[in-house]
Symmetry: C2
Subunit: 441 residues, 2 copies
């Protein structure tokens, strides 16, 4: 591959033409793809590094990625990426540099939204890993990209290492689905997996922070807010419904105790940070929070920072599992997005079916995994729950707690029944949704 050298040949993607297509001509020079990079944090630096390292392997695809300019919040901060690019904190200076693709790695809604809109409006293709931006403005930005005949790609915004969003966007028949169940936050899943080996929530979180999985402020991860943003991206793609992430009911991870994890294993299952949604017309049932998965569930063994999604597609359930996050995985997905845009030459955001605003977001019914603390006899608890129509398929005392798996019921009825149990016996309760096998026939 050494015969490929960087030339000054440039793409002109914005105008819908390109010099690419030379991969079958031996000895030809790959075109330079000039990248404008927004952000040089963990992800942006990893992207700049990978663009340099992967340039010889991408030469066989007909292009060489070169970061031509980078916009940062502060030019005085030291950067880990050794960039020959112009680095600026000024929007006008950044946009004055001609580029073929803009890669957004700032995170957060602003200033990413303003900058991405400006790029698309000029017909410059944009690749982003920003779930907050896409959750808040994805539909509007995709429409803008289509109107301008350019591309908006955000494969890394949801299960960063598994390419499936773009695939399903392009393929409307397989994307017909009635719901999704997913593990969308690697930090949360790492915490619950670590707790399987004993130890508290707090210790597992500290561990995740030490390893760089969790942000210094992990509240978006452990509250479920990060997963809720990703879930709304899936709801738009598979349900063609727009929903505000803030409308999704969340349960945080902190309610999970080490004993709950051990009890779940004894009940042949596992507690996982689950995001799920199902839709009927414009009504959505959705929830993000720790849930009990039976051992046969397709996601029950998804461990550590691995993520996964089960899509309840019309022609059979599909399951996709792989790396969920991390700067290197995210950078590779961003660069694969760039590669697709460059090699497809005439770039465009795929047409999408009409989306509607969701009219209602409510919690789904489910079976439940219950923890009751106290000395009440299991048989008394079962009788009390039964008087509210909550039947237990399994109920066992473990130390100073009673754990139970119940029949299918709405959350309101479960809470009413648990309040009655507490009033009668003093037993404090926690209830986690319990999900059975779904993916595989």
């Amino acid at each position: 591959l050494e015969r490929f050298v960087v030339t000054t040949t440039v793409l002109d993607l914005a105008a819908g033409t390109s010099v690419l297509g030379s991969e079958d001509i031996p000895g030809c020079h790959p075109a330079t793809c000039r990248i404008g990079l927004l952000g040089l944090g963990n992800v942006g630096s990893a992207f700049a590094r990978l663009a340099r390292e992967a340039s010889s392997s991408l030469a066989s695809r007909g292009f060489t990625p070169v970061v031509a300019t980078a916009l940062v919040r502060s030019v005085t901060r030291e950067r880990s990426a050794q960039l020959s690019a112009q680095i600026t904190d000024d929007h006008e200076t950044f946009f004055a540099e001609p580029v073929d693709v803009i890669v957004e790695a700032l995170g957060g809604v602003e200033p990413a939204y303003t900058l991405v809109r400006r790029a698309l409006d000029r017909g410059i293709p944009v690749v982003t890993a920003n779930k907050s931006l896409i959750a808040a403005h994805g539909d509007e930005l995709a429409r803008l990209a289509r109107r301008r005949g350019t591309a908006l790609r955000y494969e890394a915004a949801c299960i960063a290492g598994v390419p499936f969003l773009g695939t399903f966007e392009r393929r409307s028949l397989v994307a017909r689905a009635s719901g999704v169940t997913a593990i969308l936050n690697g930090t949360s899943n790492y915490i619950l997996t670590t707790m399987t080996r004993g130890g508290s929530f707090e210790a597992a979180l500290a561990d995740a922070q030490r390893l760089g999985y969790a942000e210094p402020d992990p509240s978006m991860d452990v509250s479920g807010a990060d997963a809720a943003e990703k879930l709304t991206i899936l709801i738009r793609l598979f349900g063609r419904l727009l929903v505000d992430p803030a409308a999704i009911p969340l349960d945080g991870l902190a309610s999970v105790e080490a004993d709950d994890i051990a009890a779940a294993a004894a009940f042949d299952g596992a507690i996982r940070p689950v995001s799920r949604a199902a839709w009927d017309g414009t009504a959505i049932r959705a929830h993000v929070g720790p849930a009990f998965l039976t051992g046969t569930h397709a996601l029950a063994r998804v461990a550590g920072v691995t993520n996964g999604v089960v899509i309840d597609a019309e022609r059979g359930a599909q399951c996709y599992i792989g790396p969920g996050a991390g700067p290197d995985v995210t950078a590779a997905t961003l660069l694969d997005d760039v590669s697709e845009i460059v090699t497809e030459r005439r770039v465009r955001t795929p047409p999408s079916d009409a989306v509607s605003a969701a009219t209602a977001v409510t919690r789904p019914d489910s079976a439940w995994f219950l923890r009751l603390t106290g000395t009440a006899r299991p048989s008394d608890i079962a009788d009390l729950l039964g008087s509210y129509g909550i039947w237990c398929t399994r109920l066992e005392r473990r130390g100073d707690r009673v754990y139970a798996l119940t029949c299918h019921a709405g959350q309101a009825r479960i809470h009413t029944a648990l309040d009655a149990v507490q009033a009668a016996t003093g037993a404090a309760a926690a209830a986690f949704p319990a999900l059975a096998e779904e993916a595989q026939s």
Copy 2:
């Protein structure tokens, strides 16, 4: 959607232009995509039916699929699909009709190869579900398509209902992998799953034939030859190596007995029809045949006609599971391929990294799941195996058989040891590769 009507607007994909791109213009008419259909068997008929049924939903993507002409082996056979298209058994008549895309659903290498080559050579994009064709000529046909600036898509050729081949073709960084492990034949997996509920291989096969999963001649399915063709497609995509399907070592399904299935369950695993390959330079280790999967393996619970693949990717294992076959699933994937080609306007086969010919294909080493028939004492069997360096991690008598799980070993050593056991004790043996968890960290 009723306001969309079929118009006589046509695409001209071969010339690289198109009238599409109208999805943002309310009330505009979708363009007709004229399809030339090769074959009107189960898959071809299902495709013709789906093209009719899905036309209103595809109108929102800017096109209406219309089967304009169909080539069949015999025009006198009655067809289930009510087609208004020209139906002919003459190649010249078929190619005289102007079409935008050709969909190949003949199966088998010839005449599919001749017809697909002729279409691509004319610059007409081709969509096919034909794993035999792609296994034998995929690389050559993809090169022809690229030279002619047109598209060749074959998403349905491997795990028909799960779109991943095209995705990984377009994305070279995520496609860097060292191996794959997969369940690629729905009929075989249906048979082994059915045997879990008791009953013989023959009864399960008859069941699969009655339900239409198995062909009247199921030999390609149960011998592993069908899976081997699909495995070579995966080896080309992920390993960039060309290999003849006939070079892949096969074990047929018929060696699996109902007692083996029950013993595998007692050993906390399952027997599944597994295709696997790993590569190092141009040397491949590959095998297709029944294998023992530990219960924690990502594919252990893939049941019935569902298929799945674990990709040992550089940045973390990926797992994809979903519908493997069936006329309706295959037809939907073919039509999604057509939809991608039409809506991307400037169609082209993605560039690929250079492929090399595989220099060697040998069986991979593995742990083994052994069945020994006879009255020999388990401890004697363990001692004999141990004298050949085969250590058993578990060994149990079940009725008139002894089952064992062994350490990692090459097939030659296992067979030498089993021959020695048979010579010493009269115990006839069968050995299945045993694979442990791979997919999820």
